[in-house]
């Protein structure tokens, strides 16, 4: 039991971080349809600015956290206003490419400012590990979990109650409709970038004492967050949290009970299986469910039909997986 708890705690640490990053992906995606591939760089900037302020300039922890979040948000807002808004073309692909470029530029700038070596600072709550049901936890870990819970709660409140939150949701549901009632999707996208940068920065602040961070250390974390967001259903905020935590726990249990050499493979397999069964992800929008029917068996049936018939009958299927299936079929025949 204590071993299981220990694995679970490990999974919850990774999971909480993945959840924060996944939320950042979903926020921007929902409002603007952009997949922001510089998401991991927000984590990196938050972490490095925090270390620089706290350890490099001996500033109080609270000031350093606020500074790290503020600077990361500023970077994200500049990225959106100065570059993304200037794109004539509002299509997804050019915007995604811009974020790829931004991630490279941000990494290089970070390398110039913070140097090439990884940086680290002391845990926010220092101290010896204590025992919970036979498993051990570090004080910093508790703080990490508490912060993530509080952030998710605040975010829920923000979307349920605040005007800006509601306006962002409106953009997600119908951008044109939102514009008609006086909401600017462009501004909402900037707000989404700011919020998601803040979440990334907090994730950076929380993990930099645990793992350290260097100029190129954000990218892999960003991708983990994307996987988590997809797992939970890209477009669903609760899904991002559940997806993040699920990926973290699956990896930890796989490493603990199966084999640590294949834990990433295991997590990817679970993701693949899930996407086959529910292409919209764990908590993705449910109206898509009705069109193809939920569950693994009908889903596979639909895929097979698409393959044998050539997909012509399907018209324009809304699901990616089906589209891919038909196009592969088209190439084969």
């Amino acid at each position: 039991m204590s071993t299981f708890l220990q694995f679970l705690f490990g999974g919850l640490v990774s999971g909480a971080i993945f959840a924060l990053i996944a939320l950042g992906w979903v926020l921007i995606y929902n409002v603007s349809g952009v997949l922001n591939l510089a998401q991991g760089e927000f984590v990196m900037i938050g972490a490095l600015v925090f270390v620089e302020m706290r350890s490099g300039h001996d500033l109080p922890v609270a000031v350093s956290i606020v500074g790290a979040v503020a600077i990361t948000v500023a970077v994200a807002v500049v990225l959106d206003i100065a570059i993304l808004r200037r794109l004539r073309n509002d299509q997804m692909v050019p915007m995604v490419l811009v974020t790829v470029g931004a991630s490279v530029v941000l990494r290089e700038i970070a390398q110039e400012i913070f140097g090439k070596d990884p940086l680290r600072t002391k845990p926010l709550l220092d101290g010896d590990p204590f025992s919970v049901g036979g498993a051990t936890v570090l004080p910093h870990t508790l703080l990490l979990w508490a912060s993530v819970v509080v952030l998710v709660a605040l975010l829920t409140l923000f979307f349920a109650r605040s005007l800006v939150g509601k306006a962002m949701r409106a953009c997600h549901e119908n951008a044109l409709g939102a514009q008609v009632v006086g909401v600017s999707p462009q501004r909402m996208r900037t707000a989404a970038f700011a919020l998601s940068a803040a979440l990334g920065a907090v994730a950076g602040v929380l993990i930099v004492p645990v793992t350290s961070m260097s100029w190129n250390g954000g990218t892999a974390l960003g991708l983990k967050g994307f996987v988590a967001a997809t797992f939970g259903g890209l477009g669903s905020l609760p899904g991002a949290v559940v997806g993040g935590i699920a990926i973290g726990i699956i990896e930890a249990l796989a490493a603990g009970y199966v084999s640590s050499a294949y834990k990433d493979v295991f997590a990817t397999l679970v993701l693949l299986a899930l996407l086959l069964a529910r292409p919209q992800g764990l908590l993705g929008a449910s109206q898509r469910d009705e069109r193809v029917g939920g569950g693994l068996v009908p889903r596979l049936g639909a895929l097979l039909r698409a393959r044998t018939v050539g997909g012509a009958r399907d018209g324009a299927p809304p699901q990616r997986a089906v589209k891919d299936g038909t196009s592969t079929q088209g190439e084969n025949t």
Partner: protein
């Protein structure tokens, strides 16, 4: 018969003196003069294009000193990118040595021209940069690359162009190419034999290895498996992804094996994640860190995470240069170099700087020794036959079969809570457990 090289030692000394210039006028001028005299007496330029066969051992000392053409050394280093903690120090070192040699009148009267290119820690880029250097700068020798991957990628380019290459990483050289040399201790000895010598001495029976799934981790595991077998020690391995933020599941599995010591089979930031997990689980074991992490940036990173049983690694003398015994044959060079480096760049030189300094001096010695106009094959031959060098990092003695020319310093160092290294002990001999276990 081999000719030892006091001059190269003096180069370093005079460099140190120049570096300290201004603090101590009388001292520095004395040293410079001493260096100058030595150069004048022992290093008459051999104008004869000596193909440096064994018969020309006795250098022609009758020719009056006159400045020869400049010696051109190129360098392809990982100045930026993931390998930059190596390459930046190496660039510093080469530039410092060149500048100070030229200020003192060159290497035995010949000016040194240096051109450093950055491969951005990318083997493809290293190949491009090497080609460009060879075409535009036309160096006699190229120092680099910093990383194994780039060394192996550029090797065919230099060998085809007939340019001497001195790789700074511990990359394996299965069959030495004629113009390809390589620095550092053999990797297997460094990360496999030395720690197991230490484990055996301590009577350890079970070692746990937590390895990252990238090249550095898997390379380490590949060496540790035969080493453990050869040493008769049980090895348990778990893996993690270098981007993981938590490895407590893997550590729980290892903890339950009843280990005597831990081996952290990764480099860079992975070490932090592992040590943090050990702290969380209360695993207080003697811990060995792979030599890829035996660097000062890593030491600074983990200074508050050290288990009280100690964190050890295979080190080099330069990391503990203040604490070297006075009778150590390398002590003078190392201290002179380290002091000069520290004065100029306001940071401690690491072993990467030391290997670059040695490569540079060895190449200059061989190029100058082989004489003006000698082709690179003759220079390589000179290195194999005549160069025996007590360097800043190690001592070197090349043969046609051994283009690394060096063994193992056998030094074990401990990470301190000040972010530095502490000398633990030196093994005079280290058994080759990797070879024993590979059979």
């Amino acid at each position: 018969m081999r000719k030892s090289l006091p001059v190269s030692a003096l180069v370093v000394l005079s460099v140190a003196a120049l570096g300290a210039c201004g603090d101590d006028d009388s001292g520095s001028s004395a040293t410079t003069k001493a260096a100058a005299t030595t150069v004048a007496t022992s290093a008459a330029p051999t104008t004869a294009a000596a193909t440096a066969a064994a018969s020309t051992t006795a250098a022609a000392t009758t020719v009056a000193p006159k400045p020869g053409p400049p010696i051109k050394i190129g360098a392809v280093l990982s100045v930026t990118g993931p390998g930059s903690s190596l390459g930046a120090q190496q660039k510093n070192t080469l530039e410092m040595l060149t500048e100070q040699l030229n200020a003192a009148g060159g290497f035995k009267g010949r000016k040194v021209e240096l051109k450093v290119a950055d491969d951005q820690s990318n083997p493809d880029r290293a190949v491009e940069q090497t080609r460009a250097l060879i075409q535009e700068f036309k160096p006699t020798a190229i120092v680099g690359a910093s990383l194994s991957g780039s060394c192996l990628a550029t090797k065919p380019v230099t060998q085809e162009a007939g340019v001497l290459q001195y790789c700074l990483s511990a990359a394996n050289i299965p069959t030495p190419a004629p113009l390809y040399f390589s620095a550092q201790s053999p990797l297997g000895a460094w990360i496999g034999n030395l720690p197991f010598e230490y484990f055996k001495e301590k009577g350890f029976k079970k070692i746990g290895c937590l390895a990252s799934d990238d090249a550095s981790g898997q390379l380490t595991v590949g060496v540790l498996k035969p080493a453990a077998k050869g040493a008769g020690i049980e090895l348990f391995t778990e893996n993690f992804n270098i981007a993981d933020v938590d490895v407590s599941a893997q550590l729980t599995r290892l903890r339950d094996k009843g280990l005597d010591a831990m081996y952290v089979c990764t480099s860079g930031t992975g070490v932090v994640t592992v040590l943090q997990g050990m702290k969380q689980l209360g695993i207080n074991l003697p811990t060995w860190i792979g030599s890829g992490s035996a660097s000062l940036p890593v030491a600074a990173l983990i200074k508050d995470l050290l288990p009280s049983k100690g964190v050890l690694t295979g080190g080099e003398k330069i990391q503990v240069y203040e604490a070297l015994p006075a009778d150590d044959p390398q002590a003078k060079q190392i201290q002179a170099f380290a002091t000069a480096y520290q004065a100029k760049f306001n940071s401690r030189p690491d072993l990467f700087a030391a290997s670059a300094a040695d490569a540079f001096t060895i190449l200059l010695t061989a190029i100058e020794g082989a004489g003006e106009g000698a082709n690179t094959a003759a220079v390589a031959k000179y290195m194999e036959d005549k160069v025996e060098y007590t360097g800043v990092q190690l001592t070197y003695n090349f043969t046609p079969e051994d283009h690394r020319g060096t063994g193992l310093s056998g030094i074990v160092v401990e990470f301190t809570d000040k972010g530095a290294f502490k000398f633990v002990k030196q093994f005079k001999t280290v058994t080759d457990y990797v070879a024993a276990g590979s059979k």
